[in-house]
Point group: C2
Chain length 272, copies 2
C-alpha cells in the first residue's frame, strides 16, 4: 500500500463533508477522495440490505482511485454496512460509530448517554450495542430526528422552526437526565449551537466526525501509512465525486470546507 | 392491448398513492399495479438525467406486468421524463402535470395562478410552459416547498410547525394575488386544509391527482381500453411493488387507500 495514496471518504450526500473537514484539519498533508451519493440520498430511511449494496458499489469505485484507507463518513452506512464490508475488502475501513461511542463512554460521569440520528442509525441500535460492550451499566437513550437533515439542507441552522422541532425531539432525552449526547448524523454538528442551547451547558456534545479523524490518524500511524508527501503537494490533493448534481454539491462543499471546491465529477455509481 | 390488463402507476415513493386513490375512486373496475421507488426517493432534489434513467427502469419493470397504460404519478418525473419516455415506449403514458395545468387555467378568473412543488418541478418551469401554451396572458408564480414532503412523511399534517413553514412558503404567492393554486406534488393534497386556510377561501386549490384520473379515464375510453372485467374481480386487483422497505410502505399505503394493502413486494429496480 502506498503511503502517499489518498484517503477515501464517502457519505450518502453532503453530510460527510463534516468528517472530511476534520480529516483535513487534523491531517493537512493527506490527500483525500470524497464520494457523495447524491443520486440516492438519503440513506437514513432505507433498509440495511439496500445501504450495504450502495456501500459496496462506492467502495469499489473508491478502490479505482487507489485509496489506502476508507472512512464511511455516514452514520447509517456505518451502522448497517461496516461489519459486512470490512470483511469483504482488503483495504482498512473505519466508520463513524465506534469513535463516537468510545468518546461518549469516556465523557459521561453519570452513565446516562443520549444518541440522536436518522431512523436507520437509531433503529439499528448500534450505538447502544457498542457502548454496552464497553460498559454494560451505561444507560443509552436513542432518538431519531428525521427532520433535522431536511432543515439543515434548507439552511435553517438558526431558526425558530428548527428550535421548535429540536425542542420536541430532545424533550425525551432531557427527561432521562443524560449528561452526554452523541450527534449521531453527519449533518447534526451544523445544528450544534441549537442542540447545545436546548440541552443546556451541563450536557457534553460528542461529534463523531472529530473522533473519527483522530481514530484514522492513529490507524494510519499504526499501519505506517501516514502521508510523507508534504513537500510535494499534488494539484489534485482533494477530489470530489458525486452520483448526481455536481454543481449543487460544489456550492455546499465550498460553504463547509476551509478552501474552495473547484470541481466535482459525476460518476455512474450503479455501474460499480 | 388487453383491456382487462392493469394500469401501471409509479412514483418516487408513497406520494403517488394519492393518484392511485383517485384512479380507484373514479374507475373502480380497473386493475392497478403500483411501483414506489422507495430505495431512491426523493426525486425532487435530483437531476433531469437521473430522474429520466430511473423512470425508464420503472417503465421497463411495469411492462413486465403487461400494463395497458402508465401514469407517472410524480410531478418531478412527469416534469423531467414524460416527454422523453413517451417517445421511447409503445404503451400510452401520461403524467400529472398537463391535467393539473389545464384545470388551473380553466379555474382562474383573474389570470394569476400559483404552483407549489419540489425544487425539480418548479425549477423545470414546466407548469408555466404548459399554461402559457394554453393562454400566453396567464401569469404563473412557482414556489418550491422542499420541507413539505418530509413534514408529511413525519405525519405533521396538522401542526404548528407545518403552519409556520407553509406561511413562509406561501407568503410570496399571497402577495401576487393569485386566485388559483396548483398542488404540484403528490404529497401536497395531504396538506390541503393547511394550505387552503393560509391562502383563504377565495383561492381555488387544484389537485392534479384528481384531474389526472379524469384524463386517464378519457384516454382509456378513447382507445377502447377501459376495463370490461367488473364481473370477474381478480384476487390480485391492486398490486404494490417498491424498491425498498416494503413494510413501511404497506403501512402508509393502508393509511391512504380505501382498503387495506395486504402485501408489497420488493423489486431490484436497478436491474431493469
Amino acid at each position: 500500500m502506498d503511503r502517499n495514496a489518498p484517503i477515501g471518504v464517502f457519505d450518502s450526500g453532503v453530510g460527510g463533508l463534516t468528517v472530511a473537514r476534520e480529516i483535513i484539519r487534523q491531517m493537512p498533508d493527506e490527500r483525500l477522495v470524497y464520494f457523495g451519493d447524491t443520486a440516492r440520498v438519503p440513506y437514513g430511511s432505507k433498509s440495511r440490505e439496500t445501504v450495504i449494496r450502495y456501500s459496496r458499489q462506492i467502495i469499489r469505485f473508491l478502490l479505482t482511485k487507489n485509496v489506502k484507507a476508507i472512512v464511511i463518513a455516514c452514520n447509517t452506512a456505518s451502522a448497517y454496512a461496516l461489519e459486512t464490508v470490512e470483511k469483504e475488502f482488503d483495504v482498512p475501513i473505519i466508520g463513524v460509530i465506534k469513535a463516537g461511542a468510545v468518546a461518549a463512554v469516556r465523557a459521561t460521569r453519570n452513565g446516562k448517554i443520549g444518541v440522536i440520528g436518522t431512523e436507520g442509525t437509531i433503529g439499528s441500535g448500534i450505538y447502544t450495542e457498542v457502548m454496552k460492550q464497553m460498559n454494560p451499566d451505561i444507560e443509552v437513550t436513542g432518538k431519531a430526528c428525521p427532520l433535522f437533515c431536511p432543515l439543515v439542507e434548507e439552511g435553517l441552522l438558526h431558526d425558530s422552526v428548527t428550535d421548535e422541532i429540536a425542542s420536541r425531539y430532545l424533550s425525551e432525552l432531557k427527561g432521562r437526565f443524560i449528561d452526554t449526547l452523541v450527534l449521531g448524523c453527519t449533518h447534526y454538528p451544523l445544528l450544534r449551537s441549537t442542540v447545545g442551547r436546548i440541552m443546556g451547558g451541563d450536557v457534553t456534545l460528542v461529534n463523531p466526525a472529530y473522533e473519527t479523524a483522530l481514530e484514522l490518524k492513529a490507524l494510519l500511524a499504526e499501519k505506517e501509512l501516514a502521508c510523507g508527501c508534504a513537500e510535494d503537494p499534488a494539484a489534485d490533493k482533494y477530489r470530489f465525486y458525486v452520483s448526481d448534481l455536481a454543481e449543487k454539491f460544489t456550492a455546499f462543499a465550498t460553504s463547509i470546507l476551509p478552501r474552495q471546491v473547484k470541481e466535482t465529477e459525476k460518476i455512474p455509481i450503479e455501474e460499480y
